[in-house]
Amino acid sequence: VAEELSVERRQGVSLATIMMRRGACARELGQAMGISLIEEGGVSRAGRTILVGTGPGTWLAVSDAAEGGLDLALRSRLDGLASISDQSSGYVLFRLSGPHARKLLQRGAPIDLDPRVFGPGSAATTVIAHIGVIIWQADEAGRVFDVAVFRSFADSFADWLQSVTVAASS
């Protein structure tokens, strides 16, 4: 099973919440970012930054660019269009990879993760083991999923992962 599922806590990732200002629209935000921004939820990519839809007019920006200051960069780029808050320390990002990653998440998430409805670029805000999570499919093939968990819940989430992985292997 070890080869079939790997779990890592992603390091060196910058995070920020983007909340649209009143009167602005997703199209304007997308234009300012130079991308076509998905408003309904889901993952939009802008270079090394992705925007994960977490609610009406709100996104979690995730950047693996080494240099920090994601919040400052977004603040100047989206000036007047959105309010930005640094969350780089706010969440821990778990990356689950392998052919069983989807099945494992489905054991905890009370939403449908079937590839027909949760495919490339899909994202959802839900709960696993009573812990609030943001989940998105991070590849095309459906073998890599990222899960954002509030920092203080990360160890509890890891405990859940441990227990459910063991259960799956036995």
């Binding site: 909340m19 200002r21 009143r22 009167g23 969350q87 780089s88 320390s89 969440y91």
Partner: protein
């Protein structure tokens, strides 16, 4: 009604940072979202919980400024640059850090915030620098005693039945501007001068022990429900004063300073005579926090 207590810092023209009590953070966030989504959907206001983003450490005591000045030599935290209730933002280890000059303990005090990933590093550094100042960690028991000495209301007083006026904070409510709770606060039942108001209590005999939960009756009155005029919300032994002190909610409280009342405790035995006083037992002029 008072829902919670905390501080609000204005970080920019349209950027605010709000803190709450630990237990109520989620409820306050929920209420802010309710207010901006349901009550005032037309307002251009966005709110995000950053509770998990920041690690915050209180540095309190007469040496707190000197300690922080040594910990952050590039930042001017003199009284002029950072007066009481001021705040400043600066870069530390490549990240944004903040210092708020706030005091819950009543001592000269600051709150240092760094991104949570740097929290461990920050607190170790503060204790390292603090060694020459004799810095020690202080816990919630010490904080609880100090806040009672200062008459700062906390969970026991913010029980969902008290108004800002009951807690002696009527002056903090604007007479000119609107705010959440303004209409309710003016209702006759909530402005009745006979409402239970926050007072301090000290035993007539310094050896007397005031216990939380005790009921307050007029001196000489029979301790029965019909004579009940309030109760003790918080109590502690004050190391500063050397005797028991308490906060309580007493009918018509602020007009009864100097009166002797009976603190009645039918469960743990004995009545204690206590003098009604200001809830601020230590440093009422706030000299320490402004030093």
């Amino acid at each position: 009604m008072v829902m919670d207590d905390g501080t609000t810092t204005r970080l920019g023209q349209d950027h605010y940072y709000v803190t709450t009590t630990t237990a109520n953070a989620a409820r306050v966030m929920q209420h802010i979202d309710y207010a901006r989504q349901v009550l005032w959907p037309g307002l251009d206001v966005q709110a995000t919980s950053v509770t998990e983003q920041w690690s915050t450490y209180a540095v309190a005591g007469p040496h707190s400024r000197a300690l922080l000045q040594q910990a952050f030599p590039d930042v001017d935290i003199s009284n002029e640059a950072l007066p009481y209730m001021g705040a400043l933002e600066f870069s530390w280890n490549g990240s944004t850090a903040r210092i708020f000059r706030l005091s819950f303990s009543g001592e000269m005090a600051y709150e240092v915030s760094v991104p949570a990933a740097l929290g461990d590093k920050a607190v170790r550094m503060l204790f390292e620098v603090g060694e020459t100042f004799g810095a020690v960690p202080y816990g919630t028991e010490a904080l609880g005693v100090m806040r009672i000495e200062k008459g700062h209301p906390a969970g026991n007083e913010l029980n969902g039945q008290t108004t800002a006026a009951d807690l002696g904070m009527a002056r903090m409510m604007s007479k000119k501007k609107d705010f959440i709770g303004r209409v309710m606060a003016a209702r006759p039942g909530l402005t009745d001068p006979d409402r239970p108001r926050l007072v301090g209590l000290k035993p007539v005999d310094a050896a007397g022990i005031l216990r939380a939960g005790s009921h307050l009756v007029r001196a000489g009155a029979e301790p029965v429900a019909s004579n009940d005029e309030g109760y003790v919300t918080s109590s502690a032994f004050s190391p500063t004063l050397g005797h028991s002190i308490a906060l309580g909610l007493l009918k018509g409280g602020e007009n009864r300073i100097g009166e002797t009342v009976t603190v009645h405790d039918p469960l743990r035995g004995g009545d204690v005579a206590a003098i009604v006083c200001s809830p601020v037992f230590v440093d009422p002029e706030g000299v320490r926090v402004r030093g």
